[in-house]
Amino acid sequence: MKDAFGTPQTLLVLGGTSEIGLATARRLVARRARTVWLAGRPSPALDSAAAGLRGLGADVRTVPFDALDPSGHEELLGKVFAEGDVDMVLLAFGVLGDQAHDEARPLAAVRVAQTNYTGAVSSGLICAGALQAQGHGSLVVLSSVAGERARRANFIYGSSKAGLDTFAQGLGDALHGTGVHVMVVRPGSVRSRMTAGMVEAPLATTPDQVARAIEKGLRRRSETVWVPGALRVVMSALRHVPRPLFRRLPV
């Protein structure tokens, strides 16, 4: 169960090697989390992520999970929930893709969309149903500012996140009053594996700051969290910039 501050005792991370996901898990293990499920594509990285959290005192289990294989989601996630309540699900998987490359190879672009959007629709609905049945829990979805407004430089990724964001908002409304809390997290650029080697965007942040913002959002039962918080204001301004001008902005 969550405590008065929304801190979970049992956590399921979808995308078990995600740097943001693991930073969040570490913070929560330092508080109340005792059982952590890491769901991801089997790899040495997944095993060492589990070992790292075990070192902090958590009881960690891994489960094979591929966002690109929705047909298997129901069964494997069902097994996790059958073992006991999950207080928080963190939807942390995602791929950035390579915009220039993917524009030329539509099948590669489709994989980005299928991972970030379709995979999340499938696993999100399944987890939401399970949380609703247990009458409590938080579903935390890692969206992105990239979904707020289409940008020439990354609109394939951006559109997949826009879809995910809209989906998660609607799911939150659907679950309102069921004891289940859905929180959409919109980080700006985060210094992680995903952005390694890229030019740093303004207001860049770290996985740990995202984790901190998630912890605060849980406490306040927020529906939307921006990281850093200033992005909320920046994006609400950018949203109104006319397109001819926006195209020329160096964002």
Binding site: M1, K2, D3, A4, F5, G6, T7, Q9, R31, R32, D85, Q132, A133, Q134, G135, H136, G177, T178, G179, V180, K216, R219, R220, R221
Partner: protein, 474 residues
């Protein structure tokens, strides 16, 4: 003499969660439920049995996620919640069955509130044996949290005045449970996890009037306060002190003591003597749901506490006060818990034994240093501990304080206080808890192993379960 009475609970004070459906209808949906602190909501089917038979049926029929009884929802945390399962709202089981006005014994349903008992019993010259800081708790809630009042040093906890209970257990049977048995000691303080209390027979306290004769004095700091409570408490049936935890430095722990006794008839002025047992609590409008956040910040709470300390007389004796004014000042404002807004609040209450005063001082110092915006905290000296396996009181000092749950870092801060309390052999109160680290529970409650063993025998399928039980593996 036996009297039959009709039930009544003022609508304003019943369970805040709105829609309820009578037992026997399954087509309703789960609703979100919280405790008085309004943190950690979870959804459950709310079932409101109107007869003991309906309660039996509801327990027999409950699904895989079990059920838990709920009274007026005054426990601060998640004790009367059951995510994904059923919650039995007991407030319609509210009949006072018999009153023995000669010997002072009442038999009533578990959903009767202490407010209602006062309304009915005071005119007959009887008072409830123990009352908490609010009248809006049910007899079932009072038994299962084994509540204490300002008279704990004289009278012990609520369960000491229970002559017998009827308990609906997991097998669907109704048993009569009497003091001195294992089931009684597991149930009193057992937070509803041994079964549903359906009714109770209570021994009452005789009074000549419905007024209190109250002595008030100020204490300059914590040590002064403890000295005054230690030397003076034996002279009073009721004793409590309100501490200003925002005062720092030399004034740390400054307080107002308020101690009293039921006023005898001859203490009343002539006019009041004509209707000495009248009981008419007055109420202000409900507290608004939205108070500007700043009003609950450190500066304004600090000013409030200052004014309140200055207002109290340095020393005043024998002042006549009504029962609500003396025992239940907060009941004057229905739903005052809403002022903490969306984040809700946490009440931290612990006890440490005599000889562990340093632990108490340490907690007070830490709270003062951190500047928790806490309105008046309450300090009381407990008498002998009570027999319930999970009963809270220990002979010693208990302190209770409210803190807004949205305060950054509060979780870690309170974990630190727990360590101080546990190291001193003390414990926190489950009826107030919403955040304890589960590992500390066995340290704080040595009776827990017996409790778990009895539950495993009595309720092997885990029919009775609550969010509190899940969170702390009770």
């Amino acid at each position: 003499m036996s009297v039959e009475c009709a039930p009544a609970t003022p609508a304003e004070h019943t369970t805040p969660t709105a829609p309820t459906t009578p037992a026997g209808r399954d087509d309703h949906l789960p609703v979100p439920v919280t405790g008085w602190g309004r943190t950690a909501p979870s959804a459950a089917l709310l079932v409101r049995p109107r007869t003991p038979e309906e309660a039996v049926a509801a327990v027999r029929r409950c699904g895989g996620r079990g059920t838990i009884a709920r009274g007026l929802g005054r426990a601060y945390g998640d004790a009367a919640q059951n995510a994904g399962g059923a919650v039995l709202d007991m407030t319609s089981l509210d009949r006072i069955r018999t009153i023995d006005a000669e010997d002072g014994v009442v038999v009533c349903d578990a959903g009767v509130s202490l407010h209602r008992l006062m309304e009915v019993l005071l005119p007959l010259g009887w008072f409830v044996p123990v009352t908490p800081g609010t009248r809006y708790v049910t007899v079932g809630g009072a038994v299962c949290a084994d509540i204490h009042g300002k008279n704990h040093h004289v009278s012990g906890s609520f369960s000491r005045h229970v002559l017998s209970l009827t308990l609906l257990t997991a097998d669907g049977e109704v048993r009569t449970v009497t003091p001195g048995t294992e089931l009684f000691d597991a149930t009193t303080g057992g937070m509803g996890l041994t079964g549903v209390v359906l009714s109770a027979a209570l021994r009452l306290h005789p009074v000549q009037t419905s007024l209190m004769a109250v002595d008030t004095e100020r204490a300059a700091d914590l040590d002064d306060l403890m000295a005054r409570l230690t030397t003076g408490d034996d002279r009073y049936r009721y004793s409590v002190a309100w501490i200003d935890l925002l005062a720092r430095g030399a004034a740390t722990g400054r307080a107002v003591l308020s101690r009293g006794e039921h006023a005898p008839l001859d203490a009343l002025p002539a006019r009041a003597r004509r209707r000495p047992l009248e009981f008419r609590p007055r109420q202000l409008p409900s507290a608004p749901g939205l108070i500007p956040g700043g009003l609950l910040g450190r500066p304004s709470v600090s000013v409030f506490n200052e004014l309140w300390y200055r207002r109290a007389p340095r020393a005043r004796r024998g002042r006549l006060q009504s029962i609500p004014a003396f025992f239940h000042p907060l009941d004057g404002v229905p739903h005052w818990n809403r002022v903490y807004g969306r984040d809700g609040f946490v009440q931290y209450q612990f006890v440490v034994g005599h000889g562990q005063e340093e632990a108490l001082r340490e907690v007070v110092r830490r709270v003062a240093r951190r500047g928790c915006p806490s309105f008046l905290a309450v300090l009381k000296r407990f008498g002998e501990g009570d027999p319930g396996w999970l009963s809270f009181p220990l002979r010693g000092w208990t302190l209770a304080l409210d803190v807004p749950a949205g305060l950054p870092g509060l979780g870690t801060f309170l974990d630190g206080l727990d360590e101080v309390v546990a190291d001193a052999g003390g414990r926190v109160y489950l009826a107030k808890d919403s955040r304890l680290r589960p590992e500390l529970l066995t340290v704080m409650y040595p009776g827990l192993d017996r409790f778990r063993a009895l539950r495993a025998r009595l309720d092997p399928r885990g029919v009775f379960v609550s969010d509190l039980a899940r969170r702390l593996s009770l």
